[in-house]
Amino acid sequence: MKRLALAGLAALAAAGCFHRLYAPDRGPAGASLAMEERYALAPDGWKLSLVRYRPERLVPGRRPILLVHGIITNSRFFDVDPDHSFQRWMARRGFDTWALSLRATGGSDHFPDHEKDPGAAWPSVEDFVEKDLPAALAAVRAATGATAVDYLGHSLGGIIAYAYLGGGGEGVGSLVVMGSPVRFRWHTRVEEILRTGEPLMSLESLPLRGLSRATLPLMARLPTPLEPTLLNEDNLDAAVWRAYVSVGVDDLSGNLVRQAGRWIKENRLVSADGKVDYGGRLGAVRVPALVVAGKVDNVAPPWLVRPGFDALGSPDKTWLIAGEVGGLAADYGHLDMFVSDSAPRDLWPRLEAFLLAHEPQS
């Protein structure tokens, strides 16, 4: 049995070595763009990666935009390869576009450093809201001289913005939130799937980055139930999906799993200790907002995203169903709103239009 387990581990490790076959490099930034990676320092010492795509010619007065990814991923979610990159797409349209990797993901510090901070732990949402986001916003503002930054958050990235702005956070111009649930009754098998994950609640972290890379050669041949849950496969080529998995899947903090478990149990968006009801204070958010839900998003279906939009206090807010019924050419799932062949043609122009319509008056 022990030999079998060792052989299995060895096979996974060997398979993992081949992940480079699928992993795309960022490649050159592209004509008229400059790419750089900078770091913001969180108050508790975590170093946070910020990847910037800067247009050759900045539009005077236009705010920079900060992109914040969701759970189990990193900033490569917005920049899979040169042909599948929302970040470059925006930069080519004149937006100074920054993508943050939250702590313990991507190019940011990856593990709690107990030497630097004996109390360091795998993150909860509060770490992102109270430390990472203020540090990232400050770094972008310092580098650009902007007084405010536009914000686009996908999934957990949107939840972070809700919590930050609902608590009086400042420095955000316009807000785009995509696929971010604030309620947690799916009425689908997702609830069943999540219940099977309960044993993970006791883990400190789940090394999904390594696991996903190790299983990539298998994924290339065997469809898994994950894909139809996470995306509408009509919207991207399988090779793009594998490329994303090879660079974009990241480790999962056990504290986040436990916090999400509380959300599901209580059917509301709360802090890890249950004391702060993030959903209940959305009325305090006043910035112009666009909230998007994928028509066939199984993770954050429209009926779980809409209550967040309804609760926003923003006098200027817009709701979009990412699907044919919302005027797009395709129906979108959770991840294919960005890891996508189709989104540049119909969905991303809608995001750009919202941001342009809410630019500061020069």
């Binding site: 009754r185 799916w186 009425h187 689908t188 098998r189 997702v190 139809p228 849950t229 839900a293 028509k295 066939v296 199984n298 279906p301 429209p302 009926w303 995203v305 809409r306 709701w319 979009l320 169903i321 699907g323 044919e324 019924v325 919302g326 129906d331």
Partner: protein, 314 residues
């Protein structure tokens, strides 16, 4: 060589399976019967099979759709339920198929009441209703408008019980829907495929069905009101309800059907689920797909039958 042997073996097995396979069960015969509405209008009621002892089940097609929605050349839900022993009837609404008149919400409820009385035979029938008809039936039941033949339960397929989270095609219908919902794109600019049939494969019979379907102006107006004052939900759920939402339903979004569960009405139990791939279904179901998709036979008929069986056992 090996390939040739494998091919030969495969062909042999395929041939043997054809020779020795049991013959496919024939669809139960259907019988047409004229029914006079309370105001004398001629309605068409169809019976599938002759299951005298089975639970009477009345199938109500979506407003403007003929009985073929449940028939599909013998492969539809009507046959599926008849083969399982239910005493199955389909009532064509006014203006659809062989029923006279035009669809109107008030007469639709009256007509359902007449049909229920005709099929009850001393038992409490169940209703399977598509779209607007499911909403109308629940509203009417709450207001005591279904008459003495109280229902044993309701299966509502893609029926709206609350507001949508965003725009729906139903809101764009008024004034344009009388041009038909056929597969050829009508001049209205609404793409009927996107509206009610996207994402599903359909048998040939369904294409003919779509070509014949017509929403009346009253049906359009009612569809646009779904979630905005229509339907009025009962204060107490009078019978068990199985409500199935189509993940890709663009006419009445899934959240409109799920609203029945979110309302947490006292009384009988409501069971809801969203028919989509994440829940193990073959496809993301559209509005029409819930009754007429090729895959519905495998995905949905058994679940509906199980629910009806549970009503029989009560």
């Amino acid at each position: 060589m090996t390939r040739a042997v494998a091919l030969g073996l495969g062909s042999g097995l395929a041939l043997a399976s054809l020779l020795f396979a049991p013959p496919a069960a024939a669809a139960p015969r259907s019988y047409h019967r004229k029914l006079a509405a309370a105001d004398g209008t001629a309605l068409a009621l169809y019976r599938h099979g002759e299951n005298e002892g089975g639970l009477p089940v009345l199938l109500l097609p979506e407003a403007g759709f003929p009985r073929e929605a449940y028939d599909l050349d013998g492969d539809g839900l009507a046959s599926g339920l008849a083969k399982r022993g239910f005493d199955v009837y389909v009532l064509e609404g006014r203006g659809a198929g062989r029923s006279a008149g035009t669809f109107d919400p008030a007469t639709a409820v009256d007509d359902a009441r007449v049909a229920l009385a005709a099929i009850a035979k001393g038992r409490r029938p169940a209703v399977v209703a598509h779209g607007l008809l499911g909403s109308l039936v629940l509203e009417a039941a709450g207001e005591g408008k279904l008459g003495a033949a109280a229902l044993s339960g309701l299966v509502a397929l893609g029926s709206p019980f609350g507001p949508a989270a965003g725009p729906t095609f139903a809101e764009k219908l008024p004034g344009r829907c009388d041009r038909g919902l056929g597969f050829s794109r009508p001049a209205s600019g609404l793409d009927p495929l996107a509206m009610i049939a996207r994402g599903n494969a359909f048998p040939a019979a369904a294409a003919a069905l779509l070509a014949r379907a017509r929403f009346s102006p009253a049906a359009c107006a009612l569809a646009a009101r779904a979630g905005h004052g229509f339907p009025r939900l009962p204060g107490r759920l009078p019978f068990p309800v199985l409500a199935i939402a189509g993940m890709r339903d663009n006419l009445f979004a899934p959240e409109q059907t799920l609203a029945l569960a979110e309302a947490e009405l006292p009384g009988e139990k409501v069971t809801v689920f969203v028919a989509g791939r994440v829940s193990g279904f073959s496809e993301e179901y559209s509005h029409l797909g819930l009754v007429a998709a090729s895959a519905a036979r495998g995905d949905l008929h058994g679940r509906i039958a199980d629910f009806l069986t549970s009503l029989e056992a009560r």
